[in-house]
């Protein structure tokens, strides 16, 4: 029989396919300097090689500055996925820590955390981030990670708090306490493993939310600054040539869609696996 949620996930073809796409994207991002055919910022001949349609030399074509779009998309993966992964890790860690704290300590701590979540969750995230960037000017990728990650922990905190409260009431936690397990032991050895699948769902959803957020910020010129490529600012370079040079727009959009779609599929298959585990089927 399938032992647990993770085993069920491994047996799921959709989940495996989504994980493979994300893995390939991550690999491309890591290996970009070695597999990209050209320097992504090199402008070899802004006159003769300007806006070349896809050829064997330039499979994704070139942009208005004669740069190779394939190389830019690969290096853009490095920036976009790097920022997204960092922001996702930050928001999930922060959310898990605060949600767990609220559930375990309870009382006024719970009141403060839950109240904060309720207030902040009502704010439109993209607008808040745009307002902050507009105030402080263009940001380095690290600040972008801090800003996007720091504004994304709310739903994770809610999920973890609810799951922790549920499990805290279960008899196995009482039994563990009755035999002298400390709070820390119960949190790390009993509660966190219990919520790990839900946390993975939250992480996949966070990734799916953060990739377009970075792209959107860079697209409006507030995120990653040129000449450093990101999927958002490659798209920005292409908007003026939408009717004449489709390749500038299509490839970064495909990259965003594939990674976001895979993250969403993974989140969905995880939910199915969790439901199956709970049914005990």
């Amino acid at each position: 029989m399938a032992a647990n949620t993770w085993q069920r996930l491994l047996d799921d073809r959709g989940a495996r396919a989504a994980a493979a796409v994300l893995g390939a994207a991550a690999l491309a991002a890591v290996l970009a300097p070695w597999i990209a055919p050209y320097d992504p910022t090199l402008q070899p001949d802004p006159v003769a090689l300007r806006l070349v349609a896809p050829t064997w030399q330039h499979p994704f074509g070139t942009d208005p500055f004669s740069r190779d779009v394939l190389s830019r998309v690969l290096h853009g993966a490095r920036v976009s996925l790097g920022v997204a992964a960092g922001a996702m890790l930050l928001s999930v860690t922060l959310g898990a820590a605060l949600g767990a704290l609220a559930a375990v300590v309870g009382g006024w701590v719970d009141g403060v955390v839950s109240g904060l979540v309720d207030v902040l969750i009502a704010m439109p995230r993209l607008l808040v981030v745009i307002a902050l960037v507009a105030t402080f000017g263009a940001l380095s990728p690290w600040w972008l990670v801090a800003l996007i990650g720091g504004s994304g922990w709310l739903t994770t905190a809610r999920i973890v708090r609810a799951e922790f409260r549920d499990h805290l009431q279960r008899e196995y936690v009482l039994a563990a306490r009755a035999l002298g397990a400390s709070r820390r032991r119960i949190i790390w050895n009993h509660l966190l493993p219990a919520v790990a699948p839900q946390l993975a769902v939250a992480a996949a959803l966070a990734l799916a939310a953060v990739i377009p957020l970075e792209a959107a910020l860079s697209f409006v010129g507030l995120g990653i600054q040129p000449p450093l490529p990101s999927w958002g600012n490659i798209l920005l370079d292409g908007t003026d040539y939408l009717t004449s040079a489709w390749w500038l727009v299509v490839f970064p959009i495909v990259a965003v869609s594939l990674t976001v779609g895979s993250a969403l599929v993974l989140a969905d298959r995880l939910r199915v696996a969790i439901a199956g585990e709970e049914r005990g089927a």
């Binding site: 008899e171 196995y172 009482l174 306490r177 009755a178 035999l179 002298g180 397990a181 400390s182 493993p193």
Partner: protein, 267 residues
């Protein structure tokens, strides 16, 4: 007389009604004592406060319940002790076995790891040594071929096997007092007898005191020297079990005895 292992004086448990509402107390001043190695039954109908009493002894009453009174155990005043001090006693000197073994075990953890976790919770730093001790303990509570069985998850074991795992956890550090809250009522009759036998064998071997909490006089009559009857939050009888069976004084005790008398006679 030896100093008692556990002595409970005027223990009162309040339901802590919010906003000053007059809450009905769950226990209204309960006193009794347990000698080292003694086996005592705590008998009462559902809702008589048995389980709350057990949880109060461990300092694990769920909010909003609160306990007042005095509980002496091995030189500690449990109700006044700090959280850390009580935690250190739980599992090591004072252990508890729960009624429903499936929900009292973590469904996501292999049973060997759960027993080993006990040792780890009380300061064993070497994970492999903790696991060896756990497997050995599982063997002593009668789980055969234990190396393989220690690798199983709770849902892969039978009800009786799961209760043995809980016993292994509770007995691992040789507590001086084991509180068993309806340890057999989730099991079928033949398994019940086996688990009770095991419980008593382990108890004799360790010289451990046993407080057997049950609504089932049949279970208590076959195993306890003395029986405390709890009714409406008060102790209404505290007598040798034999005496309770032949001449119960309190009406509630009489009702409980009459209900099981045919079964006890056969036993």
């Amino acid at each position: 007389m030896n100093p008692a292992l556990l002595s409970v004086e005027q223990l009162q448990i309040d339901a802590g009604g919010a906003h000053g509402a007059a809450a009905t107390p769950i226990l209204r001043g309960v006193s009794f004592a347990l000698q080292p190695g003694e086996t005592v039954g705590l008998l009462g109908a559902s809702g008589s406060g048995k389980t709350s009493l057990a949880l109060a002894l461990l300092g694990l009453l769920p909010l909003p319940l609160t306990a007042r009174g005095r509980v002496h155990f091995e030189g500690h005043e449990l109700l006044a002790a700090s959280r850390g001090a009580r935690r250190a006693l739980r599992g090591r000197r004072l252990a508890m076995v729960f009624q429903e073994p499936l929900s009292a075990l973590n469904p996501r953890m292999r049973v060997g790891a759960q027993v080993a976790e006990m040792a780890r919770a009380h300061g064993e730093r070497d994970a492999r040594r903790a696991m060896r001790g756990a497997v050995e303990m599982l063997g002593r509570v009668g789980l055969a071929e234990t190396d393989a069985r220690a690798q199983r998850y709770p849902h892969e074991l039978s009800g009786g096997e799961r209760q043995r795992v809980l016993l292994a956890m509770a007995l691992l550090l040789s507590p001086a007092l084991l509180i068993a809250d309806e340890p057999t009522s989730a099991l079928d009759v033949t398994v019940q007898a086996q688990v009770l036998q095991l419980l008593h064998a382990q108890q004799r071997e360790r010289g451990m005191a046993l407080l057997l909490v049950s609504h089932d006089l049949g279970v208590i009559a076959t195993s306890c020297e003395r029986t405390i009857v709890l009714h409406n939050g008060l102790v209404v009888e505290d007598v040798p079990t034999r005496q309770l069976l032949s001449a119960p004084e309190h009406a509630q005790a009489r009702a409980l005895v009459d209900a099981v008398r045919p079964a006890v006679r056969r036993a």
